[in-house]
């Protein structure tokens, strides 16, 4: 029986559970002996003119070796790096003239000890004349205050034109709604960290917490003007990323630069309050949805307008709405779909990828729109969905926005989730509570989603892998993917084991070292298994073929007559027992290794349906999630234990956005959620255990049949929870509540609806 598809427990856990993983700040490495600690001084003002930065007192403080400010750095400012963004939107290494968000870098203090850095950083005196701040996308689009006056606009990018005036002509019903997809903080439990040391050979070793060593290395080398050959980037264990650790951050490059300036190794680990303003945020879209159709439930036209907040500097922000626009048609057969987006600069923390990155926003918009439409015509939202879903297809389907879905059966996913959830009984219970006028009302929320995974735009073609069998019978697998919780060490070993017969616990998976693995795209966009895992599959297959050629020479047999026996990891002549030679024996004679890559040539489109049940206390407004039932079709599953873990984590982040989490700023751009005491990170008490339903439609895009699973949970659960909360109070006249559906917002919506109802 194949090991693939079985619940193999993780090989990495033996160490993680006894000694702990080795994150960047845990490194004990000779190269880092005597390292200086870097502490950054950041702007406390959202937008302002820098009048003076005085580091003289800090330079005199205990343990301070050096302080660097804008005038001490001669590096070329960081360019936008995206062709659509105005070139004037560059990022200085340290703000010398203008600060553009609370958290913008102003100076760095280097000290012998960690605590000395915090003391000395407070002694750096910064004089800033505040300017009016651009805080919302509406402020930004007004173009009255400019984040980059040199650019002449706050617009970073624009996609598409407004919908034609006659777009909804012929519809019996048209519903319009402004929908906020709020800014959230990724909050990986490990904050950002980096360490760097220059060797006598003129090369620098950079350790940093990231989601793809090769991409991070290329960025740092480019920014610092270094020959990539002198940069050795190593990714230690990484304590979560969720998109926010894609690529390199300026601080990582500065650590390497400071190590060169001082001639000593330098380390940096940020505090959580620094992380909450300094690390990329996610989401941040103001949307307007409009949906029109007939009273029989047929949707005829759907339009979406997105205003993407990119924060103060262009990272992935200007690219995210392109994915939102691409996925706007979603799972539906709407005859007309229109989507338009604008991406703008604001005086806030820059926006990057966060679990789903542009696609959850598309699903949230359309699933809210379908519910609004259903409420308007008084039809069950499950019924409206069923009426409008694309019929099952096994040949590629091209959408109105040009996405090519590989295969899908959305109605089957919806039917499965409705059956598993007991939809009919839930609606009956809801009716009874409404009839009784209970304080605690039931809300039932649905979403049906399709998402795009492994869309490797700009990452290069596919993913690299290597495999070597050693004379002792163990093997090493090299991968360009970059696990930070996903369990690649186990899953890639399973894939290699399935082909070579070498037991999983005798296979070591190596990642995140640019000297050992020069090419790799990393882990993001739910790409790893369908690109990197398949590359490992190919490497293992090629390794057996290489072994077959070698064994054939040795046994003086025709390669075609050799049979590979998985049980003994040996090749022998078919029908002649005892003639075999093992992979280990072949490796003894000559290194047995292959390097290869796999390129799927296109993305896959996982899909599913979520059903969420909430109870809302109509007197306090508090919503409690009672049940989350999900169908998530990610094609063939290599390890159900790991795939379920991905779904669980994704679901929790979706519930968190729908119910709780939001990065808030005041009108002057001051962050209101800059510690974990203020940012309402979801805890165990706010979540139920989840009910997962299996569905697996293999994709034809790769030989494993696997699609992405990392982000499905978030994409499906966010609108299902959101719709459920609104559904709980819909009978009281509430039509929409923006996320996060906090008790205050729900309570206010109920109060307002009741007041309107009595007039």
């Amino acid at each position: 029986m194949s090991i693939l598809g079985t619940r193999v427990v993780r090989t990495e856990d033996a160490l993680f559970l006894t000694r702990g993983a080795t994150y960047t700040d845990d490194l004990v490495d000779d190269r880092l002996t005597g390292a200086l600690h870097a502490t950054f001084v950041r702007s406390q003002v959202a937008h302002g003119r820098v009048l003076a930065v005085d580091a003289s007192a800090a330079r005199e403080a205990d343990g301070v070796v050096a302080v660097y400010t804008a005038e001490d750095v001669d590096l070329v400012p960081i360019p936008p790096g995206r062709p659509m963004v105005p070139p004037a939107m560059t990022r200085p290494w340290f703000a010398g003239d203008t600060v553009r968000f609370v958290g913008d870098l102003i100076a760095v203090v280097l000290t012998e000890e960690r605590y000395q850095g915090e003391d000395a950083a407070e002694l750096v005196s910064v004089d800033i004349e505040p300017l009016p701040a651009v805080v919302t996308t509406a402020d930004a689009l007004a173009d009255e205050v400019l984040v980059f006056p040199e650019a002449g606009t706050n617009l970073m990018a624009a996609f598409g034109e407004p919908a034609p005036a006659d777009f909804f002509d012929g519809c019996e019903v048209v519903v319009r709604q402004a929908v906020v997809n709020q800014r959230v903080a990724p909050v990986p439990l490990e904050t950002r960290a980096a360490a760097a040391a220059w060797g006598e050979d003129g090369r620098v070793t950079i350790f940093c917490s990231n989601q793809g060593a090769q991409q991070a290395k290329a960025q740092i080398a480019g920014w610092l003007g270094l020959d990539p050959a002198v940069v050795h980037l190593v990714t230690p264990d990484v304590g979560g990323g969720f998109g926010a650790k894609i690529g390199a951050d300026p601080e990582f490059a500065l650590v390497a630069w400071l190590a060169r300036q001082t001639g000593r190794p330098v380390t940096w680990v940020e505090s959580r309050s620094e992380n909450l303003v300094g690390m990329l945020h996610g989401r941040g879209q103001d949307q307007v949805v409009a949906i029109g159709g007939r009273r029989d439930g047929t949707v005829q036209a759907y339009s979406l307008v997105v205003d993407q907040d990119c924060g103060a500097y262009p990272r992935l922000g200007p690219v995210l709405p392109r994915l939102t626009v691409l996925m706007a048609p979603a799972v539906y057969a709407f005859p007309k779909v229109h989507a338009q987006a604008r991406a703008v600069a604001t005086n806030t923390t820059p926006i990057g990828a966060y679990r789903g990155a542009g696609r959850p926003e598309a699903t949230a918009a359309v699933e809210r729109a379908v519910d609004l439409f259903a409420a308007e015509i008084g039809m069950d939202p499950a019924e409206v969905r069923r009426k409008n879903l694309l019929p099952a297809f096994s040949e590629p389907h091209t959408t109105a926005t040009g996405a090519v879905y590989d295969s899908g059966d959305y109605a089957a996913a919806l039917d499965k989730v409705l059956a598993a959830g007991g939809y009919g009984e839930l609606r009956a219970e809801q009716a009874r509570r409404r009839e009784r006028g209970d304080v605690r009302q039931l809300g039932i929320g649905l979403s049906v989603y399709v998402e795009i995974t492994g869309a490797d735009n700009g990452l290069g073609a596919g993913e690299s892998a290597g495999m070597e069998v050693h004379p002792d019978g163990t093997a090493t697998v090299l991968t360009g993917t970059s696990p930070h919780g996903q369990g690649h060490a186990t899953a890639w070993a399973m894939i290699a084991s399935e082909q070579t017969g070498i037991p999983v616990d005798r296979i070591t998976v190596v990642h995140g070292d640019t000297d050992l693995i020069p090419r790799g795209a990393g882990t993001m966009g739910s790409r790893s298994l369908q690109q990197g895992g398949v590359a490992v599959h190919r490497a293992a297959t090629e390794l057996v073929e290489l072994a077959r050629q070698r064994a054939a020479e040795q046994l003086e047999a025709d390669p075609a007559d050799l049979e590979f026996d998985l049980g003994s990891a040996a090749l022998g002549v078919r029908g002649t027992p005892g003639t075999g030679v093992t992979l280990a024996q072949l490796a003894e004679q000559e290194p047995l290794l292959v390097r290869t890559r796999f390129d799927a040539g296109g993305p896959t489109f996982p899909f599913g349906a979520h059903l969420v049940v909430v109870e809302v206390d109509t007197e306090s407004g508090k919503a409690e999630v009672l049940r989350v039932v999900t169908v998530d079709d990610a094609g063939t599953i290599v390890n159900p234990l790991l795939a379920e873990g991905q779904r669980h984590g994704g679901i929790a982040q979706g519930v968190a956005q729908a119910l709780l989490e939001e990065v808030r700023y005041d009108a002057d751009g001051n962050p209101q959620t800059s510690t974990l005491a203020d940012y309402p990170f979801v805890s165990a008490t706010e979540l139920p255990s989840f009910e997962l339903v299996d569905m697996a439609t293999p994709t034809p895009m790769n030989p494993l049949g696997a699609k992405g699973i990392g982000e499905s949970g978030t994409i499906g659960s966010t609108p299902a929870v959101h719709n459920a909360v609104i559904d709980a109070v819909a009978h009281l006249g509430v039509r929409h509540i923006d996320m996060p559906t906090t008790p205050m917002k729900v309570w206010r919506a109920v109060q307002q609806a009741q007041q309107e109802g009595t007039h």
Partner: protein
């Protein structure tokens, strides 16, 4: 100042800054890096260790406040022959960890939950772990791991006594 305590069964005495947090003492002075620091407001629980039988967040204590205490970190849980503590085993079998950063604190906090309540319900486990944040697992498998450990017997709610105590 001088501070003395027993860490994972070994008595030690070190000269430290009075303001040094127990979390930094364990990581930077003792060199036990499993104890992680995930926030600066005592919110995340990644730094949870067991001090004199109680699970506490080691960022809320100064090293000096642990004078004379018996401290257990993740590194002190497995037996001398490497045999996993029932809670470690349950986390592994139930896939109760992904990136591993919250794990040391979560495992020790979970032992603390069972010390108070050897047979907790799903809800009671969640309430017991409210002060320990995890971004990866959605807590689902953590709750299962704690309940599975509870079913394995009373040892799941106890910390092993180190070599000093055995003498």
């Amino acid at each position: 100042m001088q501070v003395s305590m027993t860490v994972n069964g070994r008595q030690r005495s070190d000269d430290v800054e009075p303001r040094l947090l127990l979390a930094h003492y364990l990581r930077d002075v003792v060199g036990l890096k499993a104890t992680n620091i995930g926030c600066d407001t005592t919110s995340c629980g990644a730094c949870t260790v067991i001090v004199d039988g109680l699970s506490v967040k080691s960022c809320t204590l100064l090293a000096a406040q642990a004078e004379g205490a018996r401290v257990t970190t993740l590194e002190g849980l497995a037996g001398p022959d490497g045999e996993l503590h029932p809670m470690q085993r349950a986390f592994r079998e139930e896939h109760g960890l992904q990136c591993g950063f919250c794990t040391p604190g979560m495992v020790l906090a979970a032992i603390g939950v069972l010390a108070d309540n050897p047979d907790p319900s799903d809800r009671e486990v969640r309430e017991g772990l409210e002060g320990n944040l995890c971004r990866c697992t959605g807590y689902h498998n953590i709750v299962r791991a704690v309940q599975s450990a509870a079913r394995s017997g009373p040892a799941a709610g106890q910390v092993p006594q180190g070599p000093e105590a055995a003498r």
